[in-house]
């Protein structure tokens, strides 16, 4: 298994160090979901941060729910007479459901 999935709050400075970045894969997602490279350094980071381990399915469900909330808000946010292009300029691209990195 190349990746581990967990939930941890980004506490800011020092949350991920430069050495962490060099030593293991990491990517942050909605719902405080983190995908962490499964090696000794990544495992140690999860322990250090007291992160809650999730399965891929559990982590994906958390992210999907967050993104769906954003999609609903985006779709409901309309200005009369506004073109689709103008809406994108105003709000940015419509959020999309995406898959977390897998092993």
């Amino acid at each position: 298994m190349a990746h581990l999935y967990c939930v941890a709050e980004n506490t800011g400075k020092g949350f991920i160090t430069a050495d962490d970045s060099r030593n293991f894969y990491r990517s942050g997602h909605a719902g405080n979901v983190w995908v962490i490279g499964n090696n000794v350094y990544g495992q140690a980071w999860i322990t250090r941060k007291e992160a809650t381990i999730k399965t891929l399915a559990e982590a994906q469900a958390i992210v999907d729910a967050e993104v769906q909330t954003s999609i609903d808000a985006w779709e409901a946010n309309n200005v009369e007479g506004e073109t689709a292009e103008q809406k994108v300029l105003r709000l940015g691209e419509k959020p999309v459901i995406y898959s977390l990195p897998q092993e």
Partner: protein
Amino acid sequence: MGIKTRNFANNILSGGTIDGTDFLSGTLPSSNITNDSAASVTSIPSISNVISPVAGDPPSPTLGDIWYNSSTNALKFQGFQASAWASGGNSSSPAVGGMVGFGAQNAAVLAGGIVPAPSPVLTSPLANVQEYDGSAWTSVNSMSQVRNTFGGAGPQTSGVVFGGRITGNPFTYTAATEEYDGTNWTSGGSLGSTRYYMGAAGTQTAALSFGGLTGPANTDTEEYNGTSWTAGGTLSTGHHAGRGSGTQTAGLAASAAPPAPKTVSQSYDGTSWTAVNPTNSNNAYRGVSSLGTQASSLLWGGEPFTGATEHYDGTSWSVDAATLSISRSSTGGGGTGTTGLAISGESPAGVPANQATEEYSAGINVIKTFTTD
């Protein structure tokens, strides 16, 4: 594989033993090398025979140098530490987009942006400002004007912001300029035309505004002298959401939002823009090292959401090994081409990108110690 040069080589004996008597230079026969490692070597002489002891570390070792530090009894070498992004302090700005960042990695400013608002207004621009000291963000005096998607440039203690969108629905825009001295905001001269989503570069007394929207993406450039704006050269490719670094007389504009090519890159000499090699990543709404130069600048993130980072060396953009931990777009951008600062931004679901800060450190040569663990 061919011949591989080793500092202590030319002395692999037939039995696989390294003879240390002629170790300063030479070649290893390819038969003794497999997959970049010496093979069939059964023993080596005492380290002191092939690597001279040094009392301390050499003052200016070059990449690949190996020595034995007799003071600390450690075998050392000059290695390379790859570039990396690391977490910085989280901002407390409520902005979910449209914010602007400028300044240095340890002395930056995050200004403006938007927060969601009830229909029919939908979004409310902010005047909020926060300063970063390399560890934490602190709220400071607000701008006089609420803004989002505006231009901002300069160091923390002599910054300048201009233009932008100033209301939610119905949307209105400004040409107004404000100057920041690290404490207070004061009014500056107004842009020649009202616009938003422009690129920005330079300093408070020598700033650039280029491109942006006043309808269709435009090619206009304006130059600020600390008092007033005057027309500059015309962009080769009109665009909005271009990212600027460098100075008024040696500027760099990179990346753009559709319909312009997202990879467009142009340099400015104080008079005219010239197309230069395009960026690698086909992403819009990227972040930039706003204190970078025409010879060294960084771009990161963008839409489609990515953490990809690339560096400009004055000639071309190259993909950097480091990637943001949080893929996002529209980050505020500070720092230089070797010390970038990604501030806030937008991601598919807002959180956790909105308040996250990441700090870039360039790859450097460092002294490392051989270990057996």
